[in-house]
């Protein structure tokens, strides 16, 4: 069977800078995979390429054997990839519940007329959406914040809400860009438990970018290390983290 995600020969150039150069990655269904590397290595750029935010200069991205290179962000989300953002991007003026319900948008349907005339299908579908959204929020212990305007959430909860919103789109592959950034050790520990829970209970395959080595070592089974846009090394977490090249790159070598 084909891998869930297969990236080959992926490159993008910004002016004179090859931000990602000849990148490759294979993720099997069920993997919890880490993408690490020093600041500016090109990790977020890989996510932006994967989700169609940027178009690659070269390379092929396949999701379950389907070529998704060059599709729009919207189509790629529909194909089964959802993400969170390093610099949080919530729907700030809307409630926590509405943020997740927007993630549910493509899985529920009623007509504009049903909304305007408040036909029974409106009430029925909205009720289902509320239940589903609350269920997702409860995974991250956010159900008590359902009514809160999302901009008013503390930082750590905003990051979790982004994950809940991404999961609401029912993806096959979840991309998390520095989910623990700005969290204290307690919150990070909670987040690790949440990620493990999601992976087991929702059958989710996860690719994450993270600088917190405790988190990376704690939950990722495999890693790819990027440095200056190129792959430095890849493989089992333990082996990779013990690699002197990796340690050197992180120490600013």
């Amino acid at each position: 069977m084909a891998a869930l995600l297969e990236i080959n020969n992926l490159s993008i150039q910004f002016g004179g800078l090859r931000a990602v150069d000849d990148f490759h990655l294979t993720i099997e269904k069920g993997d919890l995979y880490g993408l690490i590397g020093p600041n500016g290595a090109g990790k977020t750029t890989v996510f932006n390429l994967l989700t169609g935010e940027y178009k690659p200069n070269e390379g092929v991205i396949r999701l379950e054997d389907r070529d998704i290179t060059g599709l729009s962000t919207i189509e790629i989300n529909k194909a089964g990839i959802a993400r969170t953002f390093q610099n949080i991007r919530l729907f700030k003026q809307l409630t926590v519940l509405d943020n997740v319900k927007i993630g549910l948008h493509n899985q529920y349907e009623y007509s504009t007329a049903a909304a305007i005339l408040r036909l029974p299908s409106y009430f029925k579908t909205e009720k289902q959406m509320n239940e589903k959204a609350l269920e997702l929020l409860s995974v991250f212990n956010l159900e008590d914040e359902a009514d809160t305007i999302s901009a008013n959430l503390p930082y750590g909860k905003q990051r979790k809400l982004e994950i809940a919103r991404a999961m609401a789109t029912n993806p096959k592959l979840l991309l998390l860009d520095e989910p623990a950034a700005g969290m204290n050790p307690n919150e990070t520990q909670e987040l690790m438990d949440d990620i493990k829970y999601v992976r087991e209970n929702f059958d989710m395959t996860i690719l994450l970018i993270e600088h917190d080595m405790k988190l990376v070592a704690g939950i990722c089974e495999k890693l790819t290390v990027l440095n200056f846009g190129r792959i430095l090394t890849e493989g089992e977490t333990k082996t990779v983290l013990a690699d002197p090249e990796v340690i050197k790159a992180y120490l600013g070598g």
């Binding site: 989700t51 989300n77 529909k78 729907f91 409630t95 319900k101 948008h105 504009t112 901009a151 008013n152």
Partner: protein, 356 residues
Amino acid sequence: MKQVKSISRTSRDNIGTVLMIVAIYVLVQILNGAGLINNQMRGLLVPLCVYATMAVSLNLVVGILGELSLGHAGFMCVGAFASSFFSKLFAETMPVFPRFLLAILIGGIVAGIFGFLIGIPVLRLNGDYLAIVTLAFGEIIKNIMNVLYVGRDANGLHFSIKDQMALGMLPDGEMIINGPQGISGTPNDSNFTIGFLILLVATVIVLNLINSREGRAIMSIRDNHIAAGSVGIPITKYKMLAFTMSAVIAGCAGALYSHNLASLMATPARFGYNMSILFLVFVVLGGIGSTRGSIIAAIVLTLIPELLRFMNDYRMLIYSIVLIVMMIVNWNPKSRAWIQAHFGRKKNNEAGKEGR
């Protein structure tokens, strides 16, 4: 299941807005019945409904979709002319009720088509392009209406953008649109009750849309279009929906407006840039995104210059002061917190915190 308070609060809020409109209508009818409304004020009732409807329409684009339109008077103008044109054509052949209903629909549909056509190239882009294009549209439409001649005779309709003579009509022909003189003799079908109904229907449609799956999609684009795309929201589609719907409502308001005028001319005072800005002022002072606020601002700012007419030269001074005071009341964080505490509007950031 867990109670979601923000949902019930929002529907209470919406019912409040609808009740407010009904209450204003009833109040006006009572005052009118008691003979407390003078002629000058009575003449203002239909324009009040027109402007309040325009505020609801523009709020959908500016407050809910988060795009800027600087030419909404243009859509009103299109709706006004299209509907009046229709009513003039069928003035003798159709009874009032179906004719006016159709005229309103035609005003809305034609304005909606213009909105749709403008939206196709512009709404695919991110940035303030819509502001620029709508600004141009508003001015162009006004100018086209000033050079458009349409007449009817036994041979049918004649069009020209030169002058009346170029129509080449038979002597018994009748002018329908007469260049700068516009359309005169539109049947006077508008009245306060119909104006009230149009405002009410527009408000209910917009509020129900906002609180639906598609309305949330529209607001997600406003709040963060990159995130909206990342969760698969078809951005262009929902921008088009909101903008076209807004144009339709503006067109209906235009029909209401033109059927209240003995002669409809595309003058700058009626459909120019200043009017578009005035509508924007309603939305901004009403607290961008608040349908109720937009309506209140439209009513207050339409009434004040008239109520202060006796003060002559000081009129505009007081008008400006009211503008500034409304701005402060609506946008100062403290006064917003106060409004929140006393009236519990959902818009405010504190919404989730109380009542838990």
